[in-house]
Each structure stands twice: as structure tokens, then as C-alpha cells.
């Protein structure tokens, strides 16, 4: 059983890729397998846990729910695109400083959901932060330090 492969173009972390993909391949499959961007995690493959969250044209999406062909021509940010060299994004820095990381499996998705929020709202309320992170499950932290980290990053980014 052979399936037709499709050529798509993606711009991921400001790098352009032209790749052929199976029609059934999800954006998550392509990011992890074809592009080797393993920072995007597969927690459930069903859109329930948020571990695969990436930013697509400014909005946070579950990469496991999006077919790769639907991402054709889109701009995507993954966790690998946030830092430059040793310089962390303020959100990454805040997650480290607040100790908002335990097992770390939800961390990339959490940070990207938070980034999509802060890109849109510079000074979000606690409710807005919680709402923005409500699609990202974490089983380790009770979310306390994660919320604090986002508040800290918002403050740091606001003062720049």
C-alpha cells in the first residue's frame, strides 16, 4: 500500500525547509522525525496533554493534531527556536529561576503556550495565565511554580 507523498514548505525557527511528507503525517511527526527537533514532546498524540505545543503563525497549537500538509507555508516556533546560544529567552530563564521544572516533559509545551500568551498580552492577569496554560498538563509541579515563572517572565519582559 503506497501513499502519495506531498512536498511542503515550512519555516521553523526562522529556517526554511522543503520536505516531502506522507499525507497522514502530523506536524509533530515531521518536527520530530524529519527535522530532528526532539524538543517537541509526544505525550498523548491525541491533543489532550499539550506536551507537543508549538507556535504556528503566532498561535499555540498541538502539533499532534495538525497534519503536516496543513502547516504548509506557515511560520513555526519550537522550543529550539527560543534561545540563542547560551542566551535564554526570559521565559526559559524564569522557569529555571523559579524551579518550575521537574521531570521537564511538559516544559517545552508550557513555555510555548506561555510565549504565545505573552506575545499577545504583555501584562496578563493570573487568570489569563492559567487560562492560557490550561491545555498543558503537568503531573509533577502542581503548576504553582509554573504560574510564578510566567508572571516573573512577564515582568522581566515588560521592564525591557
Amino acid at each position: 500500500m503506497k501513499t502519495q507523498e506531498t512536498l511542503i514548505e515550512l519555516r521553523v525557527n526562522q529556517v526554511s525547509y522543503r520536505i516531502t511528507v506522507r499525507p497522514s503525517a502530523t506536524l509533530l511527526d515531521v518536527l520530530r522525525q524529519d527535522l530532528g527537533l526532539k524538543g517537541t514532546k509526544r505525550g498523548c498524540d491525541q491533543g489532550h496533554c499539550g506536551a507537543c505545543t508549538v507556535i504556528l503563525d503566532g498561535k499555540s497549537v498541538n502539533a499532534c493534531l495538525l497534519l503536516a500538509v496543513e502547516a504548509h507555508g506557515k511560520k513555526i516556533t519550537t522550543i529550539e527556536g527560543l534561545s540563542s546560544g547560551d542566551k535564554l529567552h526570559p521565559l526559559q530563564e524564569a522557569f529555571v529561576e523559579e524551579g518550575a521544572i521537574q521531570c521537564g516533559f511538559c516544559t517545552p509545551g508550557m513555555i510555548l503556550s506561555a510565549k504565545a500568551l505573552l506575545d499577545e498580552i504583555r501584562e496578563p492577569s493570573e487568570e489569563e495565565i492559567r487560562e492560557a496554560l490550561s491545555g498543558n498538563l503537568c503531573r509533577c509541579t502542581g503548576y504553582v511554580k509554573i504560574v510564578k515563572a510566567v508572571q516573573r517572565a512577564a515582568q522581566a519582559m515588560g521592564s525591557h
Partner: protein, 761 residues
Amino acid sequence: MESKGPFKAVGKSIPRHESFAKVTGQARYTDDLDLPGMVYGSILRSPYAHARVLHIDPSEAEKVDGVLAILLPEDVPQRPFNCAGNPPSPLLIKDEKVLTDHPLYEGDRIAAVAALTPEACQEALDRLVVEFEPLPAVFEIEDALKKEAPLLHPEIAQTNIFKKMEARKGEVEKGFAESEYVFEGEYHTPDVQHVAMEPASCICHYASDGTLIVWSNTQTPFQDRRLLAELLDLPESRVRVIKPATGGGFGARQQLHNQHVGALLSKRVRRPVKIINTREEEMVATTVRHGSFCHLKVGVDKEGRLKAFHAKVYLNGGAYCTHSPIVLAAQTRKFQYRIPHYLYEGYAVYTNGPVAGAMRGYGNPQLTFARERMMDKIAKELGFDPLQFRMRNHLEVGETIPAHTFPLRSCAIKECVEGGEEIRKRIEDREGTRKGKEGITEAWGIAFACHTSGPSNNDGMSSCLILVNDDGSVNLAIGSADIGQGCETTFSQLVAEELGIDLKAVAVTAADTLHVPYDLGTFASGQIYVGGNAVQQAAQDVKEKVKVALADQFSVDRGEVRYENGHFKIPTKEGSAMLLPFREAIAKISFGRKGATIIGRSSFKAEESPLPFAVCWAKVAVDHSSKTVEVRHIIEAVDVGTAINPEIVRGQVEGGIGMGLGFAMMEQIEFDRRAEKPSSSDLLHYRIPTVLDMPEIHVYIAKGSYEPTGPFGAKSVGELPVVPVAAAIANAVAKATGEEIDSLPLSKNFVFKRLWQSQES
């Protein structure tokens, strides 16, 4: 182990050392690894909770492009084993097979396939033709105990009770006869799932030289190695288990998951085989927390002192033994009140439900829910304040809890109560407590808990090496498995403290059985107490060896070099002394004619397993008209001995509260009665708390606790904080409603209302 500080590295909240890798996406979890020649594996699991496999026809599956091997039950060793990642024990009944033609639960492994792609694996599984004869199944403890119930393991037991455990002190009947009041109650808790965010993952490579290498998320690399060596008839020296970054465990990774299947597939195809569970497999085919039924009988005198306690506990073990007997044994040692007469009777029961195994708390959350509900009931009936009633009966330093062999050497329960009460009063001053206004009643509930530091049968054992480099930096090699709790970071603090060196000078290699010596693994909250003691002893061994090398270097008697206040002190001929900090001492001895390489080593066997303590408060708001419960605040005060890294401890407590909230309010593996199998097969049908569900969380860490047998006074924290939460919430809801609450989750009888509302517009 005597120094109580002041400390330089201990007690500091440094960020965990893998932070940078985890926030940048560079941390490598098992599924992130791709090996040359690697192929994929998948497992055909039983769709029935109980069935007989009559026939399997693999011919169509074999024709799928890319399929390399198909394993059926007859292709693999049929010797039964026990998947529990525990040190060997005769209690661990071997009743499970790698692949079976007699599946005993939905998810039981029947066949396996290796193929070039995950898609080919799936297609091959779809084309395996299996003829089943469905058989009658039982799911509830009560049903499994009936005479007519199908017998799950006639080869093990002639009823579905496969283990009975008893612990006693005094004569409980005499105690009841002497009691003014006797109370009884029955309590139920459901099966719940760990829901670690990373699915069970392994890559197994059985190489042509007869060596097996396994990369997997595991809590117990050395236990896995032993089990795999036994299953594959290999010496342990030829089995190497490596734990990459691991996305949570909570007990779920204290069982072999698919490593045996992966190893056997790889042995067949001689290529690395990767098996990653789907979330559905995680939900139905890994392990769960034992569902429980508990009957309590408690006798009290008229001063409100406990006289007699009798617990009769039934645990739903699911289809296989795994940890159950040890979970029962652990339950016997969690009674933190003074009690002259005590009887614990525990029964592990086979059912065709999900297999129960290790989960954070290991039997303790179930029993604590029952006991702490009962304590509230007694306090209410006799007119005592629930807090005072507990404190009146609580054990103190020097006393021994039932079934333990050593007395308490540290117990800061009073400071926990005071610290938590102060927080509670601040909240009350700020917001008050609504009493029926607009149909809403608020109330506080409280619960106490204790746990263990290392296996409570004192089975804890760990060892490590500290390799000293010529620049004075050191490499710690330890078997411990950090699954997200941060123990590698904490160990580096212990090393830095003991040697008086900078934290940055300590690097940790862990959890690779080829390169590090034995450690029991991450379970029983044992890493800091058991592993930490091993680390401190190895660091002390380093210092002893440095003293000897310095003595030789400077030609003084070996006994004359001392270590004081962070310096090695070497007497000089002039009668004074040369003082060298660690780094300078190493510089003096590293090279040259009398050069020495320093390797510290340790082998620590725990003789005790000290108890950490927790007190938990919950404030709930109940809307009587709609029967909704909103959990507004959780306060948890903990005595963990010295908090080596307070923010890591705080994070553990906060996470434990989150897990406890799920256990209290919403989590339960649901059964579809008609289909005769669990329906909680994904994270929509099995909800864990989201960030919108969480109450305001307040943590208090007791400062006045020092465990003399622990490294720098530390006990443990990992499991403790989850234990009292459900009981505290249930006590609050019972108080607010006046209803007797004897089962979990509360969402069976109430509507759980999120504290944080989604934005309306």
C-alpha cells in the same frame, strides 16, 4: 552525620543542574534517541479482560512491507516472573508471562511485532488474526471474593486472595474491651493512574556478542537489569540498563513495562528495537494505584486517648501480583499515633481489572484516607477539636510506631501544626469563612500523615564512587535514578558540603549500570536518605584517603593529618600546621613521585527508614443547592528533616498536593460494565487536575527537624505530600455538608467546581 551546620551547600535552593537542557528542549528522553539500524516494536494486547487465545494466524501480518519479526507466546520463555522493580523477595509471587495465551486483563500482552516503521508495526498488528474465547471476568474486590468468581491464578492460590499480611501489637480485643467508645467505619478508594507525562519507552539492543543494552524510562535500573538477566539467561555483567532523561514516574516506572518484549524482539532481529506506549496503552496496560476497601474499628477512652486500632484492608491487585504483598507490608508501618493495641490485616485480591503496582504513597494514601476520616469522626462524636485530638495521641521522639523496629529520632509534628496554623489564620483574617450565606458553606478540614525514607522493611541499599580529578573537581558515579525529582542536584550539594568544594566542581554520572555501582533505585522515597547516605559516606572516604596521601606526601604519620573547618591540617616540623582546602590538598598529591589518585567509595545498607511527617489543611466552599465543591486552599506543612534543597522540597510538596487533589476530587478508572473493561483509556476520559483546577497552595517546611541517621539530617519528601491531601479535603467537605464521606473520588457525589473560571468573553 553529626554536623548540624551552618552549611554552605546544604539548605541552598540551587536550580536543578539539568535546567538548561530541559528549558531548551535539549534534554534527551528515550523516544528522542535514534540509533543506527533501529527498528520499532509494538505489542498486541488483549481486548478482553479475560479470555483464552485459541489460535493466532500471523500469515497476513508477515506479508506487511517492513515487518521483520512476529513473536507469539510459544516463541518466548514461558517461565513466570514478577515485573516489580524491588530487591528480590520471596513475597513477590512470579505469576506473569512476557506473552500469554490466557490474558487476564484488557491490555495483557499476547504477541509482538518488530518492523521498519511504526506504521508497519500497526498494520501488522491489525492483520494478526487472533481467535479468542472470552471468559467470565471480575473487577471488584467484593465480586472476586465470591465463591462462584472465576479463579485467576489456580496455580498460586485456591481463592483470589493471593496474600494475607498481618501486623499486631498488644491484644486488640482486650483493647476494645477496655475502651469507653468503639467506632467502626468502611471506606473505599478507586483505582487511579499515575499519568506520568512521558509514556513508557524503551530501546532494547541485543547485540550479536550476547550483550543486551536497554535505554528506558525506569526508576530502578539495577532491579530491571536483574529481572532482564534472569528472563534472558544472561549474566548481569552482560545487561546494561541506561536511564535517559525521564518524564516522571510516581511508581509507574518501578515495574518492567515493555523492556522484556523489546529485548526478545531485538534478540530475534539483532537490531535496536524501540517500543513507545501509546497513551491508551499507558492508561490500560501499565499499572494503577490499588483500589481499596478498608474496615476500621477504633477504641478510645474517655479522655480521648486511642486504645485499640483494627484495620482490615482489601487491595485490588488486578491480574498479577507485582508489588501487592510489599504494599500490604508497607501499610502496616504507617500508624503515627500512640496505640497500645494494634492489629492490621491486609489482603491482596486478584481481579481482571488493571494491574496494580507501585504508586506514590504505596498503599498509604488509601489507609490514611480511612484513618483520618475516622479520626475526624471520633473527634466530632466526642467533642474534641480535630487538631487537638490528633496531637493528644501523636507519637513523640523516642516512641516506636507499630511494626517498626526503631524508635523515632526526629519528629517536628508540633512545628508543622504551628507553621500551618499560622498560614491558616492569615487566610482567615483575610477572607473569613462563609457559613451558609447565599447557600454557600465554607469549612476547613485537616489530616495528618507520615511516610518513610527508604523501604520501610529497611531494605534500602546504595553505593557510589567519587572520582577525584587533579584539579580538585569530582565526578560522582551513582546508580540512583532521577526521574524528575532532582536527586542528582541534591546529591551534588551533599558532595560539595562534605568536601567543602564549589557546587560547580561536582559532576554526576547516574543510572547507567555499566558505569556505576548498585543503587536500589527511586522508590520508597529513598534517594536522599539511602542514596544520600551512600554519597556522604563516599565523600567521607575521599577525605580519609586524602589524609593518607597527604601524610605520605609530607612524610608525617598517617594519623597526624586532620580535617577541620573545611581544611586538611598537616603538622609541620616547626610545630605549626599547614592548612589546605580540598582543592589545594588535591594539587599537592595529584602528581609527582608520591602521586595518588583518590577514589572514594561507599556501600550503605539502611538499618532504619525514618518517618517524615505532614499536616494538611484544606478549605472548601460547598454550594448546597447545586452540590458543588470548590477547593479554595490547601496548606501542607512537612517535616522532612533537613531540607537539602528547600525549593526542590517545596516543588515536591506542591506536586504532591496536585496529585492528592486529583485523588480526592476526580480521578478514577471507570469501567464499562457492558464491554467488561475500563473505559478510562485517554486523558479526556481520565481527567487529572489542570492549572485551572488548582487551589491556592501554601507550603510550610519545618526548620527544627534533624534526623540523626540521615545525610546532614535529611529524611525524605517524595511520596509524603500526596498522602494526607484527600483525607483533608474529604474532612472539610464532611464538615461543610454534615455528610459522612467514606469513598473517593468526591465527584461521585458532588460537582467539582474549578477555582479558576475560564474567561467568559
